[in-house]
Subunit: 342 residues, 4 copies
């Protein structure tokens, strides 16, 4: 409780301290650090008034070069929204040793779990068979399994292999599947070390029974999965879209499902919330989830824990190891839309 | 192709050679063994006429003591239905070194996979959320996750730990969950060696977030999961019934779900097919699967492979290692109903 | 402490109750069962006088047909030496439902651990380099690694895949090696399910960097690894002999090491103890271990635990699941010499 | 083969291109990049003459601020020696977006393997028993196992948990041991995610049967394992020193072994090479390895592969992901001595 506790500017919107800290972690935060808090209209002033003395910023406020030049003690900015927006002078941060960190990794485990659940639901028709049963049209035994497949020992494709891909790969350990991965940002050796097979997009598309899309949207890959790519997939492929709708041509996806070529599940949509009359709502062979994959309380609470862990290391003069860092080379390629709700 | 190929009596009903052998395995079967085949009305005569010379029986025909006494060359009976019925003189077989074997293990992997899929669907409300979405009532983001939970690191309970329990435990490896198991037929040391925690039924019921019922029905455990047991579960427990309906009081199960105390999924029912007006068809919080969990073509084909593998070992004078053996002590305790369809 | 406790004939020599039970397990044994104990000259009479009333025999005494015919209550014989000797009427036991069980599995984990230690010692020359260092002749850094190899990702061969092979395979999990297995008693599917590659003896011999011999001696395989087989190995192969010396031509093994063709480690020898002037004692490139691989106190104590676990199941009318059973087909093929010391 | 191939200054001493690249990787290197090579006396001029145009430096030459100011195109410096020396202006690099990278991770797998081999050798007395056998003084069976222990299920302690700790943890997966880790640079959550138990140094010292020292020397921890720490260990602890001799008081270590309190193995020494009359050469209960743990050809060749992988990403404008980066906060805390030989 010393007067020399490091100063933290807390402007986590759209998150809140309540959302991202457990009670006991909030207590730790407040006892180890001096907090100045901004909310809505007070965010700008809170940042401006305190940045000269602040050691940490928790949040993703606009930070101009002029503001950052005042930040003589600033060690790190913790982005708890998890998308790197084009609202701060990253180059200044990199040049001056200010870490820009994100807690986005907390969503990997919950998204991976629902992703596997969606894949199993597609492979075994869990959703459709329940619907049929409720309408008295269920098929018993083997009759209900015409299109059923095992994931164990099967051909699984990943598009992307960031935190989410790794989490999904971990969950799949017990299935002993043949996992092919396309991720142009990662060398083969690194993927092989994770027990997966690095390969081309084409091979993922043409050889997989289940395809997981776990790639972030970047300036390079908007809508890169369109009609051509769906046509390359084997008939009956299960397509699970988990990261961002921006990487697919959603109309082409719906068409591929409607035609019976593939089955699909998605947690993300071109507009959210989705129009009441959007045709995907009536599409058979498509499992609908309303951007719920990551937003678990346990994930949000892990954010606060990660912030505390890296603040502690930085306070001791050590490098942060828990949050992911913005990278000079890639920070401006990221194009995910910010979330408006938790 | 020698004239001395071992004789196999093939009476696999309700299975068929077509169902349980791939084309290439059927070819192997027919080239290594001499088959006599019975079907429907010809089964009895096929068995009677050939048992004196047969080395193997593939199927589960009635086998009286008198018939077995003629079976001087018989090494093994392969039950490909997978339930041990009360239709043969098991004691005679045990006393005379005739193995009675079952290929039931083939169902473990497919049932485990849909079991995990059902558990993830319950934990993340995959089925209910899709239904709501189709009715324009979806909840977005965290709003849709009020009762969502992770399996990773969670408290999972197994009732029973036979082939199916092991398969499910393998699939769960990547979740690093705390798995408690109640199985009174297995010593603690054996369970601990599988990385699970042996415990009492009570502890499984009261401590688990997800409970998998993977126990066979025996003469001891009919309906042993009733209103008292459901009441012991924590509110919000996900209950996944995979083995046989006979182990639960199904009305009590429905009541526990209807009251909102637990959520459930089931692949098995007291009557199959189920009456068109059975109330479970309208029950919210219950995922319905029409005894489809195991009946995958890939599982049936594995049966034939297992039969071939153990026939080959037995033909070489070695013990069978692939199929599970009927046991003197337990064969008469088993009470599962035979299947009428594949 | 009821007068109706099951009677156990305890004649475990060369083991002893002290050796194979922890204090608390011995207490359990004595409280749940009534023991009659025989030692040395009293063994025969102890068996004869009590066999009519005994439920269990713990030990491996001579059991003639005449004696067994008196054993009307006998459920199981627990062989705690672990080799099935030709000193009892196994057929009588099989025909009459008397289990003949062995606790030999307890040695799998300790033998596997020293086996991996010996392999790593060979691959990295741990023993030889320590000897050189003590003589002031050590080679520093890369100079000392001319023949060093990683096991991670390497080509490993197993000859045999019983309990010991499985234990070793488990220990090797983290090495992600390519493990080829030759075991003519096991079907390919079973081996593949363990994550290893079933193959021929020839392929194991010619493709492996490290070969583990973990096969039991049988009537078929005495001395089956001789000069021809050693010649097939790649130059520099590390050969680790863990099961029984009877499977190799020991002179040919020494010659293959002496010539520099392979390096080797062994825990077993044609005669034990070995003559003081046996040439292997001076052989460079050979690591010597004096049949110590399995004989750990913790392994012996596990024997008692296994006996208790299966006695309890059998007492409740359930089949034993912990000990391995003698098999009609194979019991008379086993040819390991009994141990004379623990 | 374009004239616009990026320029690489290649001054890898004490490594060489031959040492760290396979033939095919060297071919790739030379075809994708234009190399200028310096050796011995020509290093300084090679750097000075080319730094203005170079995209990459492969090596660890002296780099003054003045030199770096000329390096307008420089993206990364690949330190292939693996220690960060105090011979360049790291702050300038950090401020100007020049990555300083190390390939030191290549040593993790080989050091971990010999580390496990040394631990198994200590736990089972592989080295001592071989020596005794050669002198005709071997103890057979259980007599030779008075101090033998299993690692499986045992209490293992790690001091440090960098690349080497992780590699060792991976190798230990199959042993299912209870692994306690002391690493003050890492938060508990990160260690728990790796399946190990974060704890204090004291608990590692007092509770472990085997202790692995895998911590780097830093400005904070020189000689931090001394007489007091060895005294805290349980009698019979196996102590395996793998990282750097600088973290232990070597005389105190020898004394702890000499007194019979612990047993030890070491790959590193206060002076290397070690004096011919150094007393550790005669110490019983101590396994000697002459800094050979990492220096495998396969590890050196992986260096070149890592350099190629990250050069390729950087050339495409992406962040490096394979090599480890020097960190602003920690680069000056590292105090390992450079190697003089490979």
């Amino acid at each position: 409780m010393s007067p020399t506790r490091p100063l933290v500017i807390s402007v986590p919107e759209p998150r809140s301290i309540d959302l991202i800290f457990t009670k006991s972690d909030e207590k730790l935060l407040r006892s180890h650090y001096e907090l100045v808090e901004g909310l809505g209209p007070t965010v700008v002033a809170t940042v401006e008034d305190n940045i000269a003395e602040a050691t940490f910023i928790m949040g993703q406020p606009d930070l101009s070069t002029a503001l950052l030049q005042k930040a003589k003690k600033l060690k790190a900015i913790f982005n708890v929204e998890s998308n790197f927006l084009d609202n701060m002078d990253y180059d200044y941060c990199f040049a001056h040793g200010i870490h820009v960190l994100t807690t986005g990794r907390v969503f990997a485990a919950p998204v991976a779990e629902i992703g596997l659940g969606l894949a199993l639901s597609l492979e075994r028709n869990i959703v459709g068979a329940d619907r049929a049963f409720r309408h008295g049209k269920e098929l018993w035994g083997g009759d209900g399994n015409a299109e059923a497949r095992l994931i164990s020992g099967g051909n699984i494709g990943f598009i992307g292999f960031g935190d989410l891909g790794r989490a999904l790969n971990r969950l799949l350990a017990g299935f002993r599947a043949n996992i092919r991965v396309f991720d142009p940002w990662l060398p083969n050796a690194l993927l092989e070390d994770q027990g997966v097979h690095p390969t081309s997009l084409d091979e993922v598309l043409t050889k997989s029974d289940v395809i997981f899309v776990v790639a972030s949207v970047t300036s390079d890959n908007g809508g890169f999965l369109g009609a051509t790519e769906f046509a390359k997939m084997k008939k009956g492929t299960s397509f699970v879209l988990l990261s961002r709708a921006g990487v697919v041509d959603f109309d082409a996806l719906m068409e591929a499902v409607k035609s019976g070529h593939i089955r699909a599940a998605s947690d993300v949509y071109p507009q959210e919330p989705l129009a009441a009359d959007h045709p995907v709502r009536k599409l058979e062979g498509f499992i609908l989830s309303a951007h719920r994959a990551g937003a678990l309380d346990v994930a949000f609470k892990q954010m606060g824990r990660m912030v505390l862990d890296d603040m502690e290391l930085l306070s001791r003069g050590l490098p942060p190891v828990t949050c992911r860092r913005a990278e000079r080379e890639s920070v401006r390629r990221m194009r995910s839309k910010p979330v408006s709700k938790n």
